[in-house]
Each structure stands twice: as structure tokens, then as C-alpha cells.
């Protein structure tokens, strides 16, 4: 189907400002295929149904809106966690600040190094899940990332890994435009946790493709911090094999524009996928969680749990879909998206969707928006807890169901402590 002329013109104009990175033939081929996908789909505009609630222009345009550098004024999260640090500054790997990239149970390489290899296992994966994820809904920013990203990590997990890999992002230039593309391949029975945190750039386009083989487990815990002026479009693509587990959680505070997409395909029987997010937004905050889970195998479980606390005109969006294919019998799909609106100025838009072609499934979804529980607030205050603190306690209480989705207790505590700290800081 031909693109509308205006969209085609806008896409071509934007693509005329970029050039494909140099690399080995196999990668150049994949990048060319990705740019062809972008041409075919066109870059998103405000008229697209999938971008109904979030304006994509500042994510698409050639010029990067300025974002002030942000001093977190606190120790980075996960500092207390034993992990392998991989540091990027404005989207470029920083070897000095990173740990030695070796860890038992996995091999980890820079994408820019992999790009020079004549042949590499990543050729079968790089961009493959992104490409599959373009159907039935287009995600052109992810294809653009596949075409243009020069850095990122390529991880092959062969066994159980003793500590998490922590991707740490630093922002040091006010107009930086960072694209990172990560590929994670877990062999059968392998187990890895990936952590992500830190302000990455003025504009950040991040893609992670995760192939979870049979019996493997992948956990992902991410924070998007208080660097308010950043703009970010992130995609996590996962293919989940038989008896395997994929779990991802994102905590977001602040941010004028964040769009987090998660696209999961259940391809093996008895797989599990949990996708969760908690966010606290204030003022000109705009946060969009867009999730698409496809069940294409039997007896799989998927959960989507998203909670947003919004105030002073903050906006939250949830678009979540569960697609159950004809043979995906015994699917257990669950989806909940809820917002706590602390005032009348804030806004939450939810578009939950179920599309089911199998006849023996249990799928449920729900979405609610509510104000704070006045009875609980009064109860806390009657015990001497000041209103602002009581409100934050109820905020934590509201977010708890999403945070609980983090499997590892130490990481869950870390996230809770950070969340409490952020709220306390905000109270002043």
C-alpha cells in the first residue's frame, strides 16, 4: 500500500539527513533492509492511530531539542548491586568507565566491534525481532534504530550468570542524539539479568532484542530518572521459547516525552512473560507505555501491569494488546493499567485490546483511573502523618502491585528505596 504523499515526503526528507554507518557486508545488508522498512512504513506522524496520544515529531525530526544536563545529586541506582558495568556516554561506549567485559556464562561485545567482523552469530538476530515486530503494527523508530545505531552491546548467554549486566547511560551534551541497539541471545537453560539506568542523551532511541531459548530466563529492570528534559523512544523485543521466562520492569520519574514499547512473542509452550511499569509524573510529564504480546504457543502466561501516578497536568498513556493466535490454547493473559490522578489537571489515556482466535483461553484486562482514597488519607493524617507524606505513602501503596513484579528481592528493594527517595526529594 502506497504511503500518503505527505508522509512519504516527510520520511524521505528525514532520511536524506542520515547515512548508514560503515561495517561488514552482513551488517550493511541488515541496515539496508531496515532503512527499506522505514521507507515502506514511513516515519510516524501525529495522524497515525498508534500515535494518537503521543506526538512523535520531536522523536522523528532531524533537529534534536535541547535538554539541559542533569545532576542527579544522588548515588546512581544499582551502585550497591554486584554487577558488570557497561557505560555509554551520549550513546557511545566508554571503555574507561566500564568494567572489563568478561563474565562467566556469557560473552559480551560492542556492536561497533561486531560490525567489523567478517561473520558473526549476531547476523541471525540483529534486527530480526524488530522486523517481525513490525507486523501487524508498525514501529518505524525501531527500524530506524536498526539502520542507524552504531553502538550497543551484543550478548550471548550460555549458562547461568552470577551477576547482572548493568547498562549505564550518561548524558553530557545538551543536544546529543543517541541510538543504541542491543542484542541478547540466551541459549537453552541460560539465565541473565540486565539492568539499565541513567540519563542517556537529549534524545535517546534505544532498542533491545532478546531471544530467550527454551528453558532460559531473562530479567530486565530499568529506571528512567529525573532528567526531565530528555526525550526517549525505547523498544524491547522478545521472543520467548518453551518453558522460558521473560520479565521486564521499568520505573520512570519525570521526562517531557517517553515512549516505551515492548513487543513480546510467545513461541514455545509453557512460557511466561511479565511486563510491568511504574511511573510518577509531575507537570509537563508525558509517558507512554505501548505493549504488544502475541501468544503463538500453548499454555503460556503473560501479564501486563502498569501503574501511573500523575499530578499537575502530567499525562500518562497505556496502549496494550494481547493477541492470541488460533493454536495458542490454554493461554493465560492478564492486563491491568491504572492511574492515580492526584488532581483534576492530570490525564490518563488507556487503550486496552484483546484479540483472541483460540477458544480455550483465559484472558482478562482492566483499566481504571482514580483519585486518592480520602478515607485512607484521613486515617494516616489522624495518626499524625502530614498530608504530603501520607499522599506519598498512598502513592507507593498504589504502585506496589507493579513493583512486586520484580522477581529479585534485592532489586525490588533497590527500586522501592529509589522511589521513596525520589518522592521524599520532591516533597522538599
Amino acid at each position: 500500500m502506497a504511503l500518503p504523499q505527505a508522509k512519504q515526503d516527510a520520511t524521505e526528507a528525514r532520511l536524506s539527513t542520515v547515512s548508514l554507518p560503515q561495517g561488514a557486508a552482513w551488517l550493511t545488508q541488515l541496515r539496508e533492509a531496515a532503512i527499506a522498512r522505514v521507507r515502506e512504513m514511513g516515519l510516524p506522524t501525529a495522524r497515525d492511530e498508534y500515535w494518537k496520544f503521543t506526538r512523535p515529531d520531536t522523536l522523528v525530526q532531524a533537529e534534536v531539542p535541547e535538554a539541559a544536563l542533569f545532576d542527579e545529586g544522588e548515588a546512581p541506582i544499582f551502585d550497591g548491586v554486584d554487577r558488570l558495568k557497561v557505560v555509554f556516554v551520549d550513546g557511545v561506549f566508554d571503555a574507561e568507565a566500564s568494567d572489563d567485559l568478561s563474565l562467566e556464562g556469557l560473552s559480551i561485545e560492542r556492536l561497533s566491534d561486531v560490525a567489523q567482523a567478517d561473520i558473526h552469530w549476531a547476523k541471525d538476530l540483529y534486527g530480526s525481532m524488530e522486523a517481525r515486530g513490525q507486523d501487524p503494527v508498525h514501529r518505524p523508530l525501531a527500524a530506524l534504530n536498526t539502520a542507524l545505531a552504531e553502538d550497543g552491546v551484543v550478548i550471548h548467554v550460555t549458562g547461568k550468570v552470577s551477576k547482572p549486566v548493568n547498562l549505564i547511560y550518561h548524558h553530557k551534551s545538551t543536544r546529543s542524539d543517541a541510538l543504541l541497539h542491543h542484542v541478547v541471545k540466551l541459549d537453552a537453560g541460560a539465565d541473565l539479568t540486565v539492568l539499565e539506568n541513567g540519563p542517556a542523551a537529549a534524545r535517546f532511541n534505544n532498542v533491545m532484542e532478546v531471544d530467550v531459548a527454551d528453558g532460559a530466563a531473562f530479567n530486565h529492570v530499568r529506571t528512567q530518572g529525573r532528567d526531565h528534559e530528555r526525550r526517549a523512544a525505547t523498544h524491547v523485543f522478545a521472543r520467548v521459547g518453551e518453558e522460558s521466562a521473560f520479565k521486564t520492569f521499568t520505573l520512570t520519574a519525570n521526562g517531557v516525552l517517553t515512549r516505551n514499547e515492548c513487543v513480546v512473542e510467545m513461541v514455545g509452550d509453557n512460557g511466561v512473560a511479565h511486563i510491568a511499569g511504574a511511573c510518577v509524573g509531575d507537570g509537563d510529564f508525558h509517558h507512554d507505555d505501548t505493549v504488544f504480546v502475541t501468544h503463538d504457543a500453548q499454555n503460556c502466561e503473560s501479564r501486563q501491569v502498569f501503574k501511573k501516578v500523575l499530578r499537575n497536568g502530567a499525562k500518562g498513556i497505556f496502549q496494550g494488546k494481547i493477541l492470541v493466535k488460533p493454536d495458542a490454547q490454554k493461554t493465560d493473559g492478564y492486563q491491568i493499567s491504572q492511574s492515580l490522578l492526584l488532581d483534576g489537571d492530570s490525564e490518563f489515556n488507556a487503550k486496552p485490546e484483546l484479540e483472541i482466535y483460540a477458544d480455550d483461553v483465559a484472558c482478562s484486562h482492566g483499566s481504571t483511573s482514580g483519585a486518592i482514597d480520602e478515607d485512607a488519607l484521613y486515617y494516616l493524617r489522624a495518626r499524625g502523618v502530614p498530608k504530603a507524606i501520607a499522599t506519598d505513602m498512598l502513592t507507593l501503596s498504589f504502585l506496589a502491585e507493579a513493583v512486586e513484579e520484580i522477581e529479585d528481592e534485592a532489586l525490588r528493594d533497590e527500586i522501592n528505596a529509589r522511589l521513596e527517595g525520589w518522592l521524599e526529594r520532591r516533597r522538599g
Binding site: Y378, R381, A382, V385, M393
Partner: protein
Amino acid sequence: MLEIKNLHVDLEEEEKTILKGVDLTVEAGKVHAIMGPNGSGKSTLSYVLSGRDGYEVTEGSASLEGEDILDMEPEERAAAGLFLAFQYPVEIPGVGNMTFMRTALNSQRKARGQEEMSAADFLKLVREKAATLKMSNDMLKRPVNVGFSGGEKKRNEILQMAVLEPKMCILDETDSGLDVDAMKLVSEGVNALRDAGRSFLVITHYQRLLDHIKPDVVHIMADGKIIKTGGPELALEVEKNGYSDLLEEVA
């Protein structure tokens, strides 16, 4: 301790007057009971004193140790030493009971210019008080009142009272929903807190609670006013004859 003068209160949402001139003085160290039929305004009095939204004071005053409390925020009243044991304690999923009590205690201490209590000292304090109320560790760890039975919720109220050590305790129908054993446990908890510097206002429908928590003074409330005040024998009279005789007597 607590001095209420000519208190008139309307509902904010609808044009309805609930309290029509309540006068009541509770001296330090004393236990006063308020009895009265349904709809007489007993619970409203407890809510207005603790600062719940939805009520408008149109006339009169209420003070705690000489300080006007009606203009204070609920948390300021609590820090000043007022405590309401709720008739229906609220469930708060996701907030641990211990976190809740510690935040409450330290907020009050901070408001009074006292040092915050350390986690270790707090734990010791709560364990000790919880033991006398036969509250398990599990109940302390669970989210506030979530999954608690009626009796457990009331014990949790008394535990909070014991931990916060308020000067003026208002018990709003603490006996409702309690079986005999639970009532005994709760009453013992309250009696253990009786002290020369602490006063109680016990709101109840029934005399039976007053068998366990012996009042110094009993008030009968009807149609938004205190219509009769007497000693413990007044409660027995109500138990025997009901409210109708008293209401007629006044009318």
C-alpha cells in the same frame, strides 16, 4: 484536658445540622463515656474532633489542654495528643503496618520538636506492646489492616494508641464487632493505658463495654446534644430501661 463548648456542626454536602450545641469537659486522667441511640451524633463528634473533611463547625469551640483544635489539620491534632480509635479502621494495601506506625510516631515526634525514634528502639517498643495485645509478628508485617478480622483491626487500633501514647483518646464504638474474648483483650489494652495524665472518651451503644472499661462519668447524647450526665449508674439505667425513658424525661 478536652473542653467542648456549645459545638454546632453541619454536614458540608447537604443542609443538615448534626450537632446542636454540645458541651462537654473531660478532665485529665478521667474516663468519660458517651452513650446514645443511633443517629444522635456520637460518631460525628469524634470525626469533627479528629478533623475529618465534610463537616462545618457553625458555632462553638473545642480545645485540647487549652488550645483550640478546630483550626488544626488532622495531623496537628494528632501531634497535640489527640487519638481517635476508628469504628471502621481503614485497610491500606501496600503500606506495611510497621512502616505506618513508625512514620506516624516519628511524624508526631518531629512535629513536637522531639528526636525521631530509631528503628531498633521502635521495633522493641512495638514488640512489647503487641505481645500484651496478643498480636502476631505476621499482623505487624502485613499491610495496614489488610486481611485482618474485625477483632484484629480493633486490636491494631489499640496497639497504635499504645505506641503513640496520646493524651486524649477517643474510642468510637470500639466494641462493635467484637466477641467476648476480643472485647476483654481490647479493654485490658485500654485499661493498661489509663494514667493520671491521659483521658478517654468512650463512645458506645452498650453498657457491656463499660463493664470492662469503667467510666468516671457517663453522658447520654440524643439529637445532637448531651441530654443527661451522671455516674456509671446512668449506663446501667440505659441498659435496663433503654433510651426511651430518658428521652421522654428530657422532652
